[in-house]
Symmetry: C2
């Protein structure tokens, strides 16, 4: 009752008037919030040390003025609705918003999504099928980790990450043929944060970055929000267009007195095209960037789905004892995306810088989640899981690919596996196709969102990870059947 | 074995030479990573479809050249150490680093910490005592949430946050006397991310911000890293210096053609001083900012430790139906900091913008953690916990305060409760004091890190949350006993 105690009664005015004015003043100032409950007349008479009648009289006056109201059986409440409205403080936040936020908002595709309907067959998502998650293993890992070091992982941790998880991931990178002796790892909230923290630490507005076109649309959004100039290189049915890349490098080097800081590349099951870059092309790309001294950001996207028997190493395996490649990995593309755990792997001196930036942005990733994931991984849960999903998604990919060939007339189909297929249609606007298909209960991702230069109007991405074989065929057939309506 | 299959044998050279050159080339290029295992001679002879003898000969030559090596019983491995070293690519990352990263690194106090010794009595931390966490309730919440909607919270969620948790927190804000009708909530990775995302969305380099001096040193770091100009207002034993604030506002308004965008304030158990701002000062501060149209960022820091019976409302409760205050709350200062869950509460239009920025930075906060926390909160676990810790920390605060009065000669002691006490010594350099106390096994937080203008050399913060009564007294006595050595 702190707020009521500072009333000093005088001898000149009637007591009930002084009480009335005091309460009225506090309500109008907002010190007693609107609709909040006032003390009872009995309580208030004790607080002010006055007769209860004075308080009753004050409350009656306040009610007649509309400053308070009573609800029978519940009590008396403040009413400052009108005062508040008359005194509202209105800042124009649109004027305060900076370019970063404007671009992040404008390019937020979630905000312009088609409304969800029940029974939609959705090829939009490329998130993993939750039914494959092993809940019992996860529960075991949680209970195990909590009983072993619950107090530790529930309290503050270190910005770089949970040490056992970092060590596990260093070993994991090692199994990919990567020398980890001069390297370190920062744990991040998924791939997206890894990319954001890396770029936030090393780029300035107006810097240049190379990337594939089309590419991961969140990456495009981050590049543009940070004010980067994008040098895009086509990726098509023969993979990355090296001739175009070399031409652009030559033109740039001849004309600009600035330099290109980064090249961003997704060598495995590239999003959206699904193409896997060959070892020879990885080698050529690495050496081209090395020659031009352009650091490579390698997106480890869905690399885990590569058959373990294949000898396709990540590009960072070419960078042993060097510091030209930063690899960003994430399990959350295929396992427990809701946990948001990824990692940045790079030279120790880079990771040390990023560690402080991470601490400056949000201290660290949930140690609870890191602990659970570590326990799950180190108990062999991940290997078992990956074996299972390779088969599961591999079968789905093959089936979906056959369905596309059978039902949809395309200029070409791209995809070497993973969780999606990319189609180039024959001069059909995929957004018009989408709106027609939506009416028939089928949606997919229009391809233009993955292009840097506004192209791709006749492309689309089909994600099939969460659909049954039946729905895959049904949905693809509907898309194919809808196309003839659009041919002029 | 993909990489070996592209060898085309010719008729002019001996086969073993061709094999030797091919493998040597691949190892030197890094296509076969250093120390990775080669196929056995038998396997390779099958891959190349040549006699095993040719492969044996090739391997012998490669061994003599040091390009490969054998470990008996384990196999043959690539050795490209020298080649790699000679061809190392070395980017100068220090040159690439931008100002943001430089400041975040320079101001990262964790990196310049005194090395930990066993048996230290540490007053440095103000993180909660993990022994008070109710592990059984937490386990129940985890198992409950996983069985109810495990597939959902382990897969991708929404940038704004987990809907049930948002609704719970809106209700929680309501119990603080806050009208939530035009407000919304963004869930963030703790307070720090809330502040970072808010500022990243609305400030430009060179903008002005008002804050208390001293204040939360992570906030200072974020302000400086983002290139903000700080207008600091002293907080001392009488609370915020309103005269100084008004003078600075007047001077600024008269001279600058730009404006001050934000004022950052921590009204409850202010870090580091521990001062709780009175309702009258909250009212005055709010109206002063409103008059000057400067948006308020209210740090809800440790507000949960205020006695529930007190009528001290957050500043945002004065902002009903207005949009001038953004409140950043966090349970993680007192409960499960390892989970990193906080929230930004503000006008719907602001939260909508921040939602897209959050999506651009790291998609969303762990839905697993949000689900667990929601379950824990909605089952009444938090109320029980808060009741328990108010008593626990309240007793410790009173005891520590008495010990300071008894043992340490100070100019003044600040603190109204919470998890720490702030001391101004009598012209004693607290960093020298710290190094002397460290030798005797006691450490604390020197106060200068909380000051914007390099002052505070003779101040320090004592956090006692994780110490026993015995260690509190012992540690404070040691600090007090060390002071006479430093008096000149």
């Amino acid at each position: 009752m702190l707020l009521f105690s500072n009333l000093k009664l005088n001898d000149t005015e009637p007591i009930y008037i002084q009480i009335k004015n005091h309460i009225s003043d506090m309500i109008n100032k907002g010190l007693i919030p609107n609709n909040s409950k006032l003390p009872s007349t009995r309580e208030l008479s004790q607080i002010f040390n006055v007769s209860r009648n004075s308080v009753i009289l004050a409350y009656e006056e306040l009610k007649s003025e509309g400053v308070i109201y009573s609800i029978s059986g519940k009590g008396t409440f403040a009413n400052s609705q009108n005062t508040i409205l008359n005194n509202a403080w209105s800042i124009n936040w649109d004027n305060l918003e900076n370019d970063y936020s404007k671009i992040a908002n404008k390019m937020d595709i979630v905000k312009s999504e088609i409304p969800w309907k029940s029974d939609l067959i959705s090829f939009k998502s490329i998130s993993p099928n939750g039914e494959l998650f092993d809940m019992e293993e996860l529960k075991k890992s949680f209970l195990n980790r909590i009983s072993l070091e619950g107090h530790k992982i529930l309290n503050y941790g270190y910005a770089k990450g949970y040490r056992p998880l970092i060590n596990y991931l260093l070993g994991y990178m090692n199994t990919k043929g990567v020398d980890t002796s001069n390297k370190d790892i920062l744990i991040t909230n998924g791939f997206t944060e890894g990319l954001d923290i890396l770029l936030s630490s090393f780029v300035e507005k107006g810097d240049y970055i190379i990337c594939e076109n089309p590419t991961h649309n969140t990456a495009i959004k981050i590049f543009k929000a940070l004010g980067l100039n994008i040098i895009s290189v086509n990726i098509n049915k023969d993979g990355l267009d090296f001739k175009m890349l070399k031409n652009k490098l030559n033109n740039f080097n001849n004309k600009k007195d600035t330099k290109i800081k980064f090249a961003y590349i997704t060598p495995s099951y590239h999003n959206p095209t699904g193409v896997v870059m060959s070892p020879e092309n990885r080698y050529e790309f690495y050496n081209l960037m090395k020659k031009n001294n352009i650091a490579i950001i390698e997106d480890g996207f869905n690399e885990e789905l590569l058959y373990s028997s294949s000898h396709i190493f990540p590009i960072c395996s070419l960078d042993n004892l060097s510091n030209g490649v930063i690899y960003i990995g994430s399990f959350s593309k295929i396992l427990f995306p809701g946990m948001r755990i990824g990692w940045v792997f790079g030279d120790k001196s880079i990771i040390s810088k990023l560690e402080s930036v991470k601490r400056c942005k949000n201290i660290h990733v949930s140690f609870l989640d890191q602990g659970i994931l570590y326990d799950y991984l180190s108990n062999g849960g991940f290997e078992k899981y990956v074996k299972k999903i390779r088969k599961f998604y591999g079968d789905k990919f093959n089936f979906a690919y056959e369905c596309v060939k059978k039902y949809i007339p395309t200029e070409y189909i791209l995809g070497d596996g993973g969780l999606h297929i990319f189609l180039k249609l024959k001069n059909i606007d995929s957004r018009i196709l989408l709106s027609k298909c939506y009416e028939k209960g089928v949606i997919f991702m229009p391809g233009d969102i993955f292009y840097i230069d506004g192209r791709g109007y006749d492309t689309l991405r089909l994600g099939f990870s969460r659909l049954s074989f039946e729905d895959i065929e049904k949905g693809i057939k509907i898309i194919g059947d809808t196309i003839p309506d659009l041919v002029q």
